[in-house]
Amino acid sequence: MKNLKLLIIGLVISTISSMALADGHWSKIRIGTEGAYKPWNFTDESGNLVGAELDLARDLCKRMNAECEFVQQDWDGIIPALVNGKYDVIMAGMSVTEERMKTISFSDVYMTEPARFYTTNSNSLSTFKSGDKTLNLDKDSSVTSGTISSLNNAMKGMNIGVTVATIHENFANEYLDVNLKTYPTQDEMNLDLVAGRIDAMLCDTGAAESLMETSSGKDVVTFGPNIFGGLLGSGVGAGIRQGDTDLKAMFDKAIAEANADGTISRISMEWFKKDIAP
C-alpha cells in the first residue's frame, strides 16, 4: 500500500516536472525533424540525428545566439505538431509551397533540389526516353503538357510511390493518371521500390541518390526530366508558425549570412555531393 502510494506520487511529480514552460524569447529554439530522410535528416548507427539540415541548424543557431534542441516527429504529423507548439521550427526537407503557406509560414529557402522519377533497371520504365531534360512547372502549360503526357502514357495504370503529404504526392494527384501508393516514410518507399511492389517512385533527387549509393539500391535508375517549380514549390525552407514573425526574421538573416559565406554550399557538398545552395 505504501509502495503504491509512493509510486503514484512519483508518477504525478514526474509528469508535472516534464511540462516545460517555453517563453517568448528565442534563446532556446526547438527544431522538429523527421529523422528518416537521408541525406537531409536521418538516424545513424549510433542512434544520433544527423544530416545536412542538422549541420545547418546548428550553424544557424550559432548565428542567432540560440540554443538548439531537436525533436523527432513523424512526417505526417509534422505541421500539426508545429502549430500545436510541440516545437518552434520545422527543418525536415520541407518545400515552401503556397498550399502549406495557408497554415504556416516559411523562412527564406536554404536549399533547393528538383524532383525526379526512379525505377529499377529490370522495369520497362528504365528505358523511358524523355525529350526534355527539365520540366519547369512555372512555365506555360503549352510547354509542359507534352512532357507530362509522355510520362503519363509510360506509367499508365502502374503502381507509383510517393511519401504522404509531400509536394510529390500533390504532383501525382494533379498530373498523373496512375495507381498511387502513399508511404509514411521515404525509407519504407525505398524498400518497396527495391522489392518491386511499386514500378517507380517520385521523390527528391538527393533522397534517391543516397539510396543508389547503397548495395540494395544498386539497381535503382532514374528516368524522365528534373521537375521543379509550380506546385513543387520554390525550394526547401524552415517552417515557422505564422505568428512568430520575429523568429522568421532571425532565420532569414542567418540563412542569408550562411549562404553568403559559403557555409550552405559546404554542408551541401558534404551531404549531397553537389551544391544545392539557393
Binding site: 542512434g47 523527432q72 507548439g85 524498400l191
Partner: protein
Amino acid sequence: MFEVFSFGSSGWGDEMLMGALMTVLVSASSLLLGILIGIIFAACKLSNIFILKIIANTYTTIIRGIPELLVIYLLFFGGSGAVMYIAKIFGYDGYIELNAFTIGTIAVGAISGAYSTEVIRGAVNSVHKGQFEAGKTLGLSGYGLYGRVIFPQVARIALPGIGNVWQITLKDTALISVTGLVEIMRQSRIAAGSTHEPFIFYTAAIILYLVITRLSNILFDKAEDTYSKGFISKGAL
C-alpha cells in the same frame, strides 16, 4: 549478417536494447497510470451516482470501440491543445510542452485504464458482501474498511487480470512511435529503413518483445503466489 547488431557507433545492438528499455519504462508507467484511472472509474461505475456511472461507461465504451492508433493520435494532437486551453483559463497564455514520454504514457495509460477499470470492477464485485458488512459491524469505514479489508482482497483477485492488461499495454506501446518516442518499434523501423535489412530487425524486435513477455509472466506468477498465500492452490481459484 549479425554485424548490424554490434554495439557502439558501428551497429544497432545498443540502440535496440535502449529501445527495449524504453518500451519497458513506458509500458510500466502506462500500466500504473491505467491502474490509477481504473481505480477511479471502477469506483464511479460502482457508485450510486448516475452521472458518474454515465461518465465511466462513456469512457470505457469509447476506448474499447475506437482503434488504439486513433486514440493515441487524438491524445497526441489534441492533448497539448487541451492542456493549453486549461492553462489559458488559469491565465497562462503560452506554449506548454509535454515530452514524448509523458504524452505516450498518457495515451497508452488512457487505453490501459479502460481495461483496468473492468478488471478492478470485476474484482470488487467478487469480494463477498459479507466482508463489507463484517467490516462495518466492526465499526470500520473509509480507509479502514476499503484500505485494510477490501483492497487486499481486490488486489489478489485482480492480479491475473492486471497481468493480462500488462500484456495488452506492452503491445500498445508499439503504436506510440507516432509521438516520436524511440522504443522497440520505432528503433527497428529506423534501423530497417537505414540498413535495408527489415527482416533481421523485425525479427530482433519480435524476440525482444517475447523476452519481455516471458520475464513479466514470471514476475506476475510470483506476485500471484505471494498474494495467494493462505488460499487454496491457484488451480482451485
